[in-house]
Amino acid sequence: MSYSDKVIDHYNNPRNVGSLDKASQDVGTGLVGAPECGDVMKLQIKVNPETSVIEDAKFKTFGCGSAIASSSLATEWVKGKTVDQALAIKNMDIVKELSLPPVKIHCSVLAEDAIRAAIGDWKKKQQSVTPVAAEAK
């Protein structure tokens, strides 16, 4: 299988690798996938409570090159967007941008799930005072 140049670029130079403080009130964490399935993505967002703008995003991914690229791209895309704008990102946008082949579409689905899970976690925190630990959706 050959990879698109964009996948290779994200694999070689992944953007926004790292972790945010998952206990912080402003941080939402999404952890999706399972080790048994060969893909686990952790995507975190730091949201400005006033504006609902995602000011920072970080990821770590266990998975193939396409999974790494999908999550790396997802962090790039959510940064600077409001939470609602980020929710509008669809997996097929990622497929198109990275030219993923059909067998790798699940990587993009997982990235979309990760965005949703992170935002869901952040929203939950806004409703309660107690920080909620990151958990798989």
Binding site: Y3, V17, S19, V32, P35, E36, G38, V40, G63, C64
Partner: protein, 425 residues
Amino acid sequence: MSTDVKVPQAAAQQQSSDHRGIKLPIYMDNHATTPMDPRVLEEMLPYFMEKFGNAASRNHSFGWAAEEGVETARERIAKLIGATTKEVIFTSGATESDNLAIKGVAEMYREKGNHIITAVTEHKAVLDTGKRLEKYGYRVTYLPVQKDGLIDLDDLKRAIDDKTILVTIMAANNEIGVLQPIAEIGKLCHERGVIFHTDATQAIGKVPVDVTKQNIDLASISAHKMYGPKGVGALYVRRKNPRVQISAIIDGGGHERGMRSGTLNVPSIVGLGKACALAQEEMPQESCRLAGLRNRLRDRITSRLDEVYVNGSMDHRLPGNLNISFAYVEGESLLMGINDIAVSSGSACTSATLEPSYVLKALGTGDDLAHSSIRFGIGRFNTEAEVDYVADRVVETVERLRELSPLYEMAKEGINLKDVKWAGE
């Protein structure tokens, strides 16, 4: 004939770059296929143009020349495995040999019984042949393997019943290189009057295989796994003590004593013969050299990385094989990071089925570690400098991908990954 032979320079890809005097990319996937030894090619060449005859043409010199090439090859194969020339049947490769052996016995001995025993870690050429026979009313037992990849002989003993006609167990596994106790299996089969077939594709030419000493009745052989050409192989069929008969699966002109019709692929057969002769000559030194390189590779990886696991027995193993799982790193992403090295992964992402290696799963390796596995196949043309380069590249890539891995981070935080409720489960 020249014995001054150079290492082949032409890999599938153009050699693209140089690093520390090493030609890149490095081919270290010798269980998938091997590069042809130039001495094999040299031996084959006359049989394409000058000696082009049909080995079955009995009444002119063109046929005789071709037949002479074929018979020399037959002798060389027989010699390598302790057989006689009449016991060697040429085929298109090990998949055909496996099919011919298993289906041939199943049909021939149908009245005696309908039970076949094999193991879960066999090659698909054996497993899928068994599955097909099940559709036709045969009963197939798939023996489990132990954690080290070996079958339990007591399991085999218990599985044999009065309807058992065939036991088929591979000599060396293609993924983990584990060597099954062939001699013991052969002895047991002969005591119980059951025919014993072994898919010896990965073993022959690498480790000693002797059909007499090991009580083997049928053995599948492939040329391209031992520095010969692709598309040619052989099946050993025992002629006495006991005489084994098989039904043909390809009918036609009655070649190969009726067991495999079709005009012989003379140049390739000549190549297979030469490959066997070279393997026999060089095996004692070469197997030591390969085991040394393999252990060096293992040590250079395991001494610098934590949580790496060798899959399968190290004591009963092909000298050139190493199969390692790198926890918290997915296999395909690792392959992508070491893209100037040709190896294989048991990761689902590298297979068409999206299932991780069934061989590793059979050892009890979790799916997570099966996804993280890499198979290294060191061969005749690999050097120590290449092994060192591969070890360095693997270590640095695993380290980089672990920094990227949420699983590694969680494990370092003391979270037991088994306790996590994963969405995908």
